[in-house]
């Protein structure tokens, strides 16, 4: 399988602080990589670099063979950051139509209505987002991220604010995206959900990659195993 995402010897500094230290990671096309690690480990920084939102000081980053800032790479990327990236004063439907236009989605009308139904927001499509609950906002953000059928999905803690039903729905969306050939990289603290979906795992601690490899059945049985085995501070 060709590699959809490649990081080679990446260093990222915030002032004197090294947020990422010599990170080398390759994610195969069509695989789903869970980025794990504690708060401040460097997961968000890594995802922002891949989305072309943050500069690196050393190393190389390639997304589908292109620099992440390149328009060609951005066309193929769906990014969900910590913020939900939708406008409070527009309705769910208007938000999706706007992002569909920006991404140049063909047949935007049916795509928008299809995604509103998939994230179960069809009933409230005309309601301004400011009236949505946190979970509803997160589901709208997911629809926005998936709307233009990106081949690389970069998701920063996508399970945040979702209830059990919505987590199951997101898991289903991610599995569907994988079946359609998308490459997924997501960060999370929810180990059980992560291991259930991921084909690969990358563990970061203090900006260093501690482990990278395939998700094994043992990880699924014992989600804390990876933290105990590879991290200096032990338990998850």
């Amino acid at each position: 399988m060709p590699e959809a995402v490649v990081l080679e010897g990446v260093w990222k500094f915030y002032g004197d602080y090294a947020a990422l230290r010599d990170v080398t990671l390759a994610v195969e096309s069509g695989s789903c990589c869970a980025l794990l690690g504690r708060n401040g480990a460097g997961k968000t920084t890594l995802l922002r670099i891949l989305a072309g939102l943050s500069h690196i000081q050393r190393g190389q980053v390639r997304l589908m063979g292109e620099s992440p800032r390149n328009e060609k790479a951005r066309k193929q990327t769906g990014f969900l950051g910590h913020g939900i990236g939708v406008y409070e004063d527009l309705s769910a439907c208007e938000n999706l139509h706007f992002f569909a236009r920006v991404a140049g989605v063909r047949d935007a009308k049916s795509m928008v209505s299809n995604w509103l139904d998939r994230v179960e927001l069809g009933r409230v499509a005309a309601m301004p987002v400011r009236q949505f609950s946190r979970g509803m906002r997160q589901r709208l953000a997911l629809a926005r991220t998936f709307l233009h059928k990106p081949s690389v999905l970069l998701l920063d803690e996508p399970f945040t604010s979702l209830d059990d039903r919505a987590i199951a729905m997101l898991s289903e969306l991610l599995l569907d995206a994988r079946r359609e050939g998308a490459t997924i990289i997501f960060s999370t603290h929810q180990l059980r959900e992560a291991f259930a979906i991921a084909s690969h795992v990358a563990l970061i601690e203090n900006g260093r990659l501690r482990f990278t490899g395939e998700r094994t059945p043992e990880m699924l049985e014992d989600p804390g195993l990876l933290y105990r085995r590879y991290m200096d501070s032990g338990a998850a």
Binding site: L53, F79, H82, G83, L90, F99, V102
Partner: protein, 234 residues
Amino acid sequence: MPGPDVTRMRTVQQALSIARKDLAIELRTKESLNAAGAFAVTILLLLSFVFDVTSEETRAIAGGLLWLVFAFAGALVFNRGFARELPNECLDVLLASPLSRASLLVGKAVANFAMLLVVEFVSLIVFGIFYDIRWWLHPAQLAGAFVLATWGIAIIGAVFGALTVNLRLRELMLPVIIYPLLIPLLIAAIEMTNLLFSAQPSQSDELLWARLLVVFDVVFTALALALADTILVN
């Protein structure tokens, strides 16, 4: 690879999407229009009580008065332009999307332009009433002058709105940066407006200031498009 025409067309479409979205939000919240409109009208009203001038003197200062008020009101509009993208990290999503940086800047400038024109029109009506100026004598030329000058202010406002969006003191920094740059444009706009408020404006003078406005617009629009990728680095 899409050809240059297709790319240009897409840039225009994306810019219009940005402008349409900003105007839709503004029509709902009226944050910028209320602030800028109220500011412009209040200043014009206050100054009408402060100065006790003859109608001839009023005509001589009319252009300066109006364009200074528009420039200050504009800063209120431009401050909101990119700040609107900050909640929920919408700017990050736009920068990570296939949207070209040039489209984003031009889209913001188009929205600024439309909002500022509304503020200018309302101010002009108030100005006509309180200063006894017949501003409608040369409507086509006046509209042309306002369109040219307002676009120049709008594109500068969009560029520096983008540059200052992440500054803590952006409300203060934006006017401090843009006003010196706007001096040539404001001089041209003021002179042209004064000419058009007079009964028989000199066509050669009018043309001279119009040319300056066109040059200013072309230069700063071209610079904004060329430097968009550098300006909009997160």
